[in-house]
Amino acid sequence: MARIMTGAQIVVQALKDQGVDTVFGYPGGAVLPIYDEVFQQNDIRHVLVRHEQGATHAAEGYARSTGKPGVVLVTSGPGATNAVTGMTDALMDSIPIIVLTGQVPTFMIGNDAFQEADTVGITRPCTKHNWLVKDTDRLADTIHQAFHVATSGRPGPVLIDIPKDVQFADGEYVAPEKARTSHYQPRVKGDIDLITLAVEAIERAERPIIYSGGGVVNSGDRASQLLRELVAATNFPITSTLMGLGCYPASGKNWMGMLGMHGTYEANMAMHGCDLMLCIGARFDDRITGRVDAFSPDSFKVHIDIDPSSINKNIHVDVPVIGDVGHVLEDVLALWKERGSKTSAGGLDAWWRQIDAWKDVKSLAYRNSEKVIKPQYALERLEALTKGRDRYITTEVGQHQMWAAQYLGFEEPNRWMTSGGLGTMGYGLPASVGVQIAHPDALVINVAGEASWLMNMQEMGTAMQYRAPVKQFILNNERLGMVRQWQELLHGERYSSSWSESLPDFVKLAEAFGCKGIICKDPADLDDAIQEMLDYDGPVIFDCLVEKHENCFPMIPSGKAHNEMLLSDAAMSDAIDAEGAVLV
């Protein structure tokens, strides 16, 4: 029996049938019919953000912390263009979000109508796929396809542009089970011959390292579980990219800390000196590799990735396994047991001794102060005071983000939401709101820089309206700290526009929003202040005044190899040459 509905009803029905419970959005003329339907039901909760960029980041936070796709609903023209940054962010970090945009009626498309923008044209390069639906009969099917595309293979953002007349017109509803099966079915099982080569390499290796990434999170909890089993079975050391933190617990004995530009000394040195690199769900990004032609010169490289285009893109690998991390690790472990495999115990002992020697360098050590709060210290205290709690962390972008990755420990996947690939300042606050909406009873903290935080601070209004008790932990150095660090390193200490002038009084700002404001500048008061933040039942803006000129170490300067890391300020002068200076 055909079910005839209006386009707007089809949208809401399709979302319900896809299991959507929350939509982040902002209304406008071109989506009013859909908003009208949203109003007349109770299964889907609509969260009114304060800016469409906020909706996209909130949906990313929701998606990253639940493993389910996030949904965004915005109007045509400016609503759609405001969502572009969030879609690009989701594309770079492989986060599944579905963005529904209103569009001017089909008969006005191309006429420069009020609030018309070529939304599918603008968003083609920043979505995994997008659709303009011109026929109400195609709407349900397209929405189901969109969920399929966003969540299968390498996840990512998709967009559906829906003209207003299509929302008003009647059409046939198709349920998800009845929708067309898409030919888009990325392969999830890895090639068993290649997996066998990988297992043989694991048996042979004397200086192995596991380099895991965000693909493990995307693959689901089972993948993290299998990753832990692999580490336990092999006793291999493991490091992770920024995006993969938590898949292996920070308290695990084989954990080496994050790798890459601001990774630990031991992780980067082990990447450089290993004889076997198992890259699992990571993509050899330039923040990880540093100088490509000096990257891990002597290693046999195995790469597990669901996206064939990640293979051999930056780094040539010996064994490319195309498949879903969970499926591939399942096969690796099965084969491992079936063969009664063993690792090269003698070789591994010597390797661990070498790693321990690198660990002794204590690359995350910093000089603490009794007078001023060091940002690293603030994070160490935050970590200590929140240990064991059901905790989710989001971040903005800058030094504070790197310090958060270095000094906070993640025990589980989906607990760490950060903008890695795009590096979007303004991500953290809306993302924290999205996370909190998905996990109302959890502790959600946005570790922020004062400059980034201002970029989407309007979302405090959203937090207040929906009683999302997010804690905004702002490491306020009154600087665009990461920019300042690069200027110190590269541009003769000429600090061009890299300080935060005319900052608001964050405590008064909190009061203006109706939430709690806390300011802290004395290390002696810090614990109590953090505790006050944690104990407060509602959103908090915490203005943590920290050392203004602290630099983030270790650091692999642009254009350098892993073993050319800088460990402290003393090493910084002239560390980057002219060629390195052109890199970002």
């Binding site: 796929h129 390498r154 330039d286 050319e564 890391m565 040459d577």
Partner: protein
């Protein structure tokens, strides 16, 4: 000196320097891509090439399966072996793409292009143009007392050669379709 006792500025290379063991020489490949014939699919493919800095030497597209709404894109591109591999992988992961074949490496194939060539002139030049067209088995599809339009089909090289010969004989305009290609045998 830094903590590792490495000389300052010891690096001369860029982190974005994609040195690939597959080699740095340029190769030209003909790819055929089967895609859903949906709105914007060509823009998507072209956007991929421009957005990632790949070359397009030739590109043709037309529907080949009306029932199945499938179009076939033939694209000729030039790049290092690593870039060619990337192009194939990037095309292959696009949602509307059904298959990608590299005719240059997947056995023998035939390539054809069609061109319409307008030549104007009178007297000896006109006669010479006509004679040359016969050698190339070009057909005359339009003629006036002072002009011909030739239709020529063949490999791109054959068309290049014909067009070159027409230059001194009064070449006015050329319209080329770009390459259509298909594998030989079964």
């Amino acid at each position: 000196m830094n903590a590792l006792h490495l000389k300052k500025g010891s690096s001369k290379h860029s982190a974005y320097d994609l040195k690939n063991p597959l080699g740095d020489h340029l190769e030209t490949h003909t790819l055929t891509v089967l895609v859903d014939n949906e709105a914007g699919v060509l823009a998507r493919v072209i956007g991929l090439f421009s957005g990632r800095g790949y070359n397009i030497d030739s590109l043709t597209v037309a529907e080949v399966d009306h029932e199945g709404h499938l179009s076939r894109i033939t694209v000729v591109t030039t790049g290092t072996p690593a870039v060619i591999e990337q192009i194939k992988a990037q095309l292959g992961r696009m949602v509307p793409v059904h298959s990608v074949h590299d005719l240059t490496v997947e056995g023998a194939s035939v390539e054809r292009e069609l061109a319409l060539v307008k030549v104007t002139g009178t007297g000896e030049k006109r006669v010479e143009a006509m004679r040359t067209s016969e050698v190339f088995r070009a057909a005359v599809v339009d003629s006036t007392l002072e002009s011909f339009v030739f239709e020529i089909t063949g490999t791109p090289e054959k068309i290049d050669a014909f067009v070159r010969l027409m230059v001194p004989l009064g070449l006015e305009e050329v319209a080329r379709t770009g390459i259509a290609a298909i594998s030989r045998g079964t």
